[in-house]
């Protein structure tokens, strides 16, 4: 009975952690839709949603109910299985990124140290890339299965945009990996707690990564996949009811988790700024420090989410050729340049700043 040799304590703690991360990202994505409308309202000098509940706080629930109660239409000539698989894949790949992000240091309960990271795999950030590259399929399958030319166009536009910007994102990341020397997100955060945040070591890399993250999430100014004035409605033209909701929701989950990735990579993750964490642990105990760290992490993520929304309501959309020019002719050479400079500086440092 080797099957029962699973360590049940680890199993339950990981299960609880997975449930917490998944439901947490769902709730945060839900309230990002509310935040987005409020931010849009403030930037455009309006009031925003204010009818459902106090300050319109129940608006996301009302939206969700509306999507659930709408009629569900599956086009006659579409392949039904793929039509349903598309939004499921989009949602699945959006959620999977949360597995490698360190949400805090560790909790000490029942005599056990519980790490607040679901899986500390030694290829951490490459796993994120693998999942992101899978995200294209949700869009492409959905667009193709709709059996509609406009959906297909939207899907192809979205897919080629994501593939193009993945390259620049990877190259920007290589420079960062040269600095950190590890792929594990937890180790990266640990390094940033001991010294400066990676943002100060890789400002150009961060800028490229940020732009690519906007493109990967299909957010304005790169939301050409659903440019209403050129295409009918992008790859989800034929979708209705909650399947459309899944696509829209996956975008917000992607936004939340890519903010979490950027915070972990460049802004110290759960590091409390201007504070020595180890000294704090001896003063108030591990559990409290971890809780404070997680709150700090979520505040940083909220800052990035605000940036996403701010940009959406201030910068107009690119034209498609401008998008491709920016990706291939500016960002990729720039990230190669960044990589060379970083490599030269690292070599110089190893040589104690002598040529």
């Amino acid at each position: 009975m080797d099957l029962l040799l699973i360590n049940w304590a680890v199993f339950t703690e990981k299960l609880i952690l997975i449930i917490a991360v998944v439901s947490g990202s769902l709730v945060i994505a839900m309230y990002s839709t509310y935040a987005e409308r409020k931010v849009a309202a403030i930037l455009q000098d309006r009031k925003g949603p204010n009818r459902a509940g106090p300050f319109g706080l129940f608006q996301p629930l009302a939206d969700g109910l509306k999507l659930f109660f709408k009629e569900e239409i599956i086009p006659n000539f579409s392949s039904k299985f793929l039509f349903i698989l598309g939004p499921c894949l989009a949602m699945l790949t959006a959620m999977m990124i949360g597995a490698v992000i360190p949400w805090g240091n560790m909790l000490h309960f029942f005599g056990r140290n519980i790490s607040l990271q679901i899986a500390d795999v030694n290829i951490g950030i490459l796993y994120v890339f693998g999942v992101v590259s899978m995200g294209v399929y949700g869009i492409m399958i959905g667009g193709w299965a709709s059996n509609n030319k406009f959906s297909l166009f939207g899907a192809l536009r979205a897919a080629s945009q994501i593939i193009s910007y993945e390259l620049a994102m990877g190259l920007a990341l290589i420079a960062l990996l040269m600095v950190t020397g590890t792929l594990s997100l937890k180790e990266m955060v640990g390094q940033q707690m001991d010294s400066y945040w990676n943002f100060f070591k890789q400002p150009l890399g961060f800028l490229i990564f940020l732009i690519c993250a906007f493109a990967e999430c299909n957010r304005t100014p790169f939301d050409l996949a659903e440019a209403e004035n050129e295409l009918v409605g992008g790859y989800h033209t034929e979708y209705s009811s909650m399947k459309l909701g899944f696509y829209l929701f996956a975008e917000y989950i992607n936004m939340f988790l890519s903010s979490a990735v950027m915070v972990s990579l460049f802004f110290g993750g759960y590091d409390i700024p201007f504070l020595n964490d180890t000294a704090l642990i001896t003063k108030i105990g591990v559990n409290w420090v971890t809780i404070i760290q997680s709150v700090i992490l979520f505040m940083k993520i909220a800052g990035f989410l605000f940036l996403f929304m701010w940009v959406r309501w201030t910068i107009p959309r690119f034209r498609y050729d401008q998008l491709m020019n920016l990706g291939w002719k500016i960002l990729i050479p720039l990230s190669l340049f960044n990589m060379m400079i970083t490599g030269a500086l690292i070599l110089l440092k190893q040589n104690h700043w002598h040529f």
């Binding site: 099957l3 290829i123 490459l126 890339f129 693998g130 294209v136 492409m140 192809l156 897919a159």
Partner: protein, 166 residues
């Protein structure tokens, strides 16, 4: 059976079943999707052998990039089952026989060699981890590695030349 063995058999059955799906499905889009399932099963095998880097690179490069290009082409050409010309029966038979011959050659070549036994024992070792792989690539095999990178560069240049307008 231990968990590893159960996973091994599950992944193997998945890989073989999906590979049959690739050639059996009438719609080329479904074929590509089955092929992606095959790549995932093979990546699972890599993880069982403790070669996490190979597993994730297999997913990023093959399932994430090359298969997307396949899908692009197939979706744009709009290949449908009706448009496919019917093949002769003996053409199919010839394909079957030559495929089986290739299988026999592979099995004969691999079953006797020492490499096959090493692969089976890889599970306990750390040779597939990125640190060891990088050391091996940049110390023992640095010249083949650099030559293959030159090959890639020339392929990129060739693609740009072909894609350029006259």
């Amino acid at each position: 059976m231990s968990v590893t063995q159960i996973l091994f058999w599950f992944l193997s059955l998945l890989a073989v079943g999906a590979a049959i799906g690739v050639i059996a499905s009438r719609n080329p889009v479904y074929s590509v999707l089955w092929l992606i399932v095959v790549f995932f099963a093979i990546s699972g095998h890599y993880i069982l052998m403790n070669a996490q880097f190979l597993a994730i690179v297999n997913i990023i490069v093959y399932a994430g990039a090359i298969m997307v290009l396949f899908l692009f082409v197939i979706m744009l050409m709009n290949l449908n089952a009706e448009a496919e010309p019917a093949k002769h029966l003996y053409l199919k038979m010839a394909g079957l026989i030559s495929g089986l011959c290739l299988l026999i050659v592979f099995v004969a070549a691999l079953s006797g060699s020492a490499e096959a036994k090493n692969v089976g024992q890889l599970g306990g070792s750390n040779i597939g981890l990125i640190k060891n792989l990088g050391r091996a690539l940049f110390n023992d095999y640095v010249i083949p590695f650099e030559i293959s990178s030159v090959l890639f560069l020339s392929a990129i240049v060739g693609a740009v030349v072909i894609g350029k307008k006259e």
